[in-house]
């Protein structure tokens, strides 16, 4: 890969995405072997720098790094000098001085990684920036779709929920459209970003209309505070129009795949019956997340083919 940092899917070429997916397919078996340790990243230091709470993304990165033989450490807001008002630039300089190789950062503000990039030589991976992008989530989602459907081109993918505040939706839209999938988004008008159709997606205000003949239906987690800030009247009404229930899956293709970036609000975005059904890929997404992150760490730090 020609790039050193992964800040977003928007800046990737479709060949880059394919290379990451192909490499992830080779990495996945490592997780299933008895001895999970390789030495591809031996001697490398990876730091996870999380300004927002996260369990699965951080753990997924740490495990991916460890399977590849890297040493990891993590900084989260509650334990670091961040709470003392240290700026992002100060943190970058500190990490620079300590000689880390890879920094995985999650930050509540869009494009904060650009600031980090200007003050740090290490490889930087975006684990979520504000409402902008969450590129590794999209990569694992696309990897999962390809695993089940054997292709991306021509698939109809529906993303339902709070599109406006969703970095998962945005990264998936960039990635899926680059690879030739048809993307439809469904959400209340108050949670659809302006002019999103110019990104090449169809917009629906009812998930049942959006889901007709869909190959994949992805529900997004709805944040409770959105209701309090007046973006929709109640969780009940949200669930009525944008929750994924059996009637939604009925209009989709028979082999429709159900996805969710987690954690799920059971009974709001999805009922338990659908979460645990055979066409749900929710747990497989978690497994694939590790494989995709292994591929990415390998490609960004070593370059070349496996």
């Amino acid at each position: 890969m020609k790039i050193k940092n992964l800040l977003g899917i928007r800046e990737l070429e479709s060949e880059d995405i394919i290379q990451i997916l192909d490499t992830a397919a080779l990495m996945k078996p490592i997780m299933e072997t008895k001895n999970k340790k390789t030495n591809y990243l031996q001697g490398k230091i990876l730091v996870t720098l999380f300004y927002e709470p996260s369990t699965r993304t951080r753990v997924s990165f740490e495990l991916a790094a460890k399977y590849l033989g890297a040493t990891t450490t993590n900084i989260s807001t509650s334990t670091s000098s961040v709470v003392k008002g240290e700026t992002l630039i100060d943190t970058a300089r500190t990490l620079q001085a300590m000689g880390v190789d890879i920094v995985v950062m999650r930050h509540p503000m869009t494009a904060s990684h650009r600031l980090l990039e200007r003050h740090l030589d290490a490889t930087i991976i975006n684990a979520g920036d504000g409402i902008n992008e969450h590129p590794t989530q999209a990569l694992l989602d696309i990897f999962t779709m390809r695993q089940y459907k054997q292709r991306i081109k021509g698939l109809k993918v529906v993303i339902a929920g709070d599109i406006l505040h969703s970095r998962v939706a945005r990264s998936n839209i960039w990635g899926l459209t680059k690879l030739g999938a048809k993307v439809a988004v469904a959400g209340p008008s108050t949670l659809i970003p302006r002019d999103i159709e110019k990104l090449g997606v169809e917009v629906y205000n009812n998930v049942r209309d959006a889901a007709v003949d869909a190959d994949v239906v992805m529900a997004l987690r709805v944040q409770l505070e959105r209701q309090k800030s007046g973006l929709f009247p109640s969780l009940r009404e949200y669930s009525m129009y944008f929750g994924i229930d059996e009637s939604v899956l009925e209009v989709a293709k028979d082999d429709v795949l159900v996805m969710h970036p987690g954690p799920v609000n059971r009974g709001v975005e999805l009922p338990s019956s659908i979460m645990d059904a055979s066409n749900s890929a929710i747990e497989e997404q978690v497994t694939n997340g590790v494989a995709v992150r292994m591929a990415l760490l390998y490609l960004l730090t070593r370059g070349g083919d496996i």
Binding site: L88, I89, M109, A111, S112, L115, N132, R194, D195, L199
Partner: protein, 424 residues
Amino acid sequence: MEKLLIKGGRVVDPSSSTDAVLDVLVEGNKIVLIGKDIEGEGFQVVDAGGKLVFPGLVDMHVHLREPGQEHKETIESGTRSAAAGGFTTIACMPNTDPVIDTPAMVEYIKLKAEKAGYVKVKPVAAITKGLKGEELSPIGELVQYGAVAFSDDGRPVMNSRVMRRAMEYSSMWDVPIISHCEDTDLSGDGHMNEGEMSTVLGMRGIPAIAEEVMVARDIAIARFTGARVHIAHVSTAGSVELVRRAKAEGVRVTAEATPHHFSLTDRDVDGYSTNTKVNPPLRTYEDVEAVKQGLRDGTIDAIATDHAPHHRDDKEVEYAVAAFGISGLETALSLAVTNLLNSGILTPIQLAERMSTAPARILGIEAGCLKEGGTADITVIDPDIEYVVDVNAFKSKGKNSPFDGMSVRGKAVYTIVDGIIKNI
């Protein structure tokens, strides 16, 4: 007495509809003669062949930051920057610390400006005490001490009743209320224009309607009260149209636009440079075209910089927390020449009107014309000079410009204030 002869320039004076190659003779602080082929001895001669000779430029919207934020700009550095940019008079906004809402503060600004000695400074005082949007400042007394207009710029007057009272009260002195039109409930925590680009870049948007509903409100209040309102930094096509219709109706409304709002679009935010973060935000191509058209047909009376110098520490941070504002005094004229004059949108006489005569008229100050017996505030412009903007060469402390590294045309070669060259 010092005598200065500005020889062979294209003298452009909107107030007398002059646009001809003429000489201008200055004695002391006055223009004594404007005519062809003035001869004589003992003059300092300024060769203005191929240059434009404009009445001194007037910038009616500048943030000088002093007192309170001298690390960003001082009255000395800001007025020196103004002189470098071709301005002979500037009006400074009251959002300093303390706020310009007392006669003492107006006096302070005037004294410091006089001491700096570069250009003339006309204080704009606060509409409400402490810019709190609640109680009116002592408007009458502030006018007596030299405040030329009233504005809570940067902190819009959200309470419509307070705005009504401000317009009613200020109309007794016929001074304009300069309105920063922004409904802060609608702009919320946005950082750039809301539209395709905010969606592409994953940033929270500031919708055009945040500006337009307040432009509509202030026009309605001006119509109702008969007062004068001046709309600051018009940035959307909708605002231009509202002002155009109000003027046709006879409402006493005037408007200004900034160089960045006729030179850049929200596409320039791609790359996330915090120097593109400004309020109101950079808008779409269609908005930029509407602003240019408004400048052409006179809907927008004046070009004003909204010069907002910031320290590096306020800009070298995450986009979301970066300060709003562009350091504009030293690029305004070049952007106007490059994007309005050279592209045929404005004639030289219209450009002089927008950058000198109109803002002087709106503020009710003696400036903006070239006439015998008048004050010798003159800007000599080379419209052909081509150069690359370099923020490190700015006289302003504020290096926050999205135009850094951009190739532009046109520059003030002489800024003459009261008969004295101030930009060298």
